[in-house]
């Protein structure tokens, strides 16, 4: 038997031994509603969240990756801090309608209402982490899948403007606490950005100064 044949048999038997790798089941409408409610309830009881993250930007055409790392802070209701530490220091604070960016020694203040890109990014990030994106039927069509130890929510934009930038967003929720573990944002270009959250600290006190805009 040639090498290709052997590789195929090996891959197939591996799938049989690890059924979870091959099984992604779409949930029925009733089950999907229950999962959405559980995610929404978990988000409601989350007052604050702190987590490390690894962001991987996949450049589809040239098959390259750009990897960034940092810490993420969220505090109810609309306070968000993204602190990138690698490959360089870069800070974004979303404080209600204001955005503050610190890029090395350069500081920038942006009003969210006047900047469409940041408004969309803010809505997506907050909505993803707080689970509200799943309920946003005006902008997304949502399907939920059962995938091993996670629920996978696939969000496809229905809004034409949003479609021009984002083709789909996939959120992976932990089955035990319904918090988001991973976000994959696929762009119209074919590129995608994967953000994986780790070392999550839920409802620990985060001082307001973390979100203060100078």
């Amino acid at each position: 038997m040639n090498k290709i044949g052997l590789s195929f048999i090996f891959a197939f038997s591996a799938l049989l031994q690890f059924p979870s790798l091959g099984q992604v089941k779409p949930l029925s409408a009733a089950d999907a509603e229950m999962v959405k409610k559980s995610i929404s309830d978990a988000a409601k009881s989350t007052v604050s969240l702190e987590a490390g993250f690894i962001q991987t930007k996949e450049l589809s055409v040239i098959r390259e990756q750009i990897i960034s790392k940092g810490t993420f802070y969220l505090k109810k209701t609309r306070l968000l801090r993204w602190e990138y530490t690698d490959p360089f220091a870069y800070l974004i604070i979303f404080n209600n309608d204001r955005i503050y960016i610190k890029d090395e020694d350069k500081e920038n203040h942006i009003n969210i209402q006047s900047n469409k890109v940041f408004r969309e990014v803010n809505n997506i990030l907050l909505g993803a982490v707080q689970g509200t994106l799943l309920l946003d039927t005006k902008n997304f069509q949502c399907s939920i899948f059962d995938q091993h130890d996670q629920f996978r929510a696939l969000l496809v934009p229905v809004n034409q403007k949003l479609k021009e930038t984002i083709s789909e967003i996939t959120l992976f929720f932990n089955k035990s606490d319904y918090t988001v573990e991973k976000l994959v944002m696929r762009e119209a270009s074919g590129d995608y950005t994967r953000i994986e959250f780790m070392s999550k600290k839920i409802n620990l006190k985060i001082p307001d100064e973390k979100f203060a805009i100078p």
Partner: protein
């Protein structure tokens, strides 16, 4: 990073004061029969490089990470995305061709993209193969400056290290383009600034890794 800003500032002063290079301020080196050999730092054994990027154009400020990758002997790919990962530009460039894979819609302006293509061609596909140059010397810095009339290109070579430190040319018939290159160590630039004074564009690339 601060020195790259200084370099950009110097280039900008230089650019707004004149056409790309005012040869009346330079000393022509006559009877120089040597044809200096130099080439873009992106030629030869270049594979790919990642940069921290800021782009200022017409009052808009964009920042993020860019990757320049050599995709064949005759082509480069340029991808530029913001820090959160959303793509601004994604294009493939040949010496006489261009393919856009994606451009963020607010930046998708034909004239601007043309200028960007020309500027990157000036940076990526340049070298002493442009013919026999006229040799000048800057009386202040003693840098050697070579003017290739056929390519409308000025190339500055450092007095001591003979590294390419500046390129001046035209993006099109009316738009001057100025490229500054600075080196911390090695032969590959740690910082590159591209200035297009007429459209008020300043693109700064700071090397993150290769």
């Amino acid at each position: 990073m601060k020195s790259l800003r200084f370099l950009s500032f110097i280039l900008l002063l230089f650019a707004v004061s004149c056409s790309p290079v005012k040869t009346s301020r330079l000393t022509e080196v006559k009877y120089d029969e040597r044809n200096p050999e130099w080439e873009s730092p992106f030629s030869k054994d270049f594979d790919k490089a990642m940069f921290k990027v800021t782009l200022d154009v017409k009052g808009k400020h964009l920042s993020g990470i860019a990757l320049i990758k050599k995709t064949s002997d005759t082509s480069f790919h340029f991808s530029f995305a913001n820090e959160i990962g959303m793509t601004y530009f994604d294009f493939e460039l040949w010496k006489d061709n261009y393919r856009s894979d994606y451009v963020f819609s607010p930046l998708n302006k034909r004239a601007f993209l043309k200028i960007l293509q020309h500027d990157f061609r000036l940076l990526l596909f340049t070298g002493s193969f442009n013919g026999k140059p006229t040799h000048y010397r800057d009386p202040l810095t003693l840098d050697d400056i070579y003017f290739y009339s056929g390519a409308h290109l000025f190339a500055y070579l450092g007095k001591e290290n003979r590294k390419l430190t500046r390129l001046a040319g035209w993006s099109n018939l009316v738009d001057a383009a100025l490229i500054g290159l600075e080196y911390n160590q090695g032969d590959f630039p740690s910082g590159i600034s591209i200035i297009n004074p007429r459209i008020g564009m300043l693109l700064e690339l700071n090397l993150l890794g290769r």
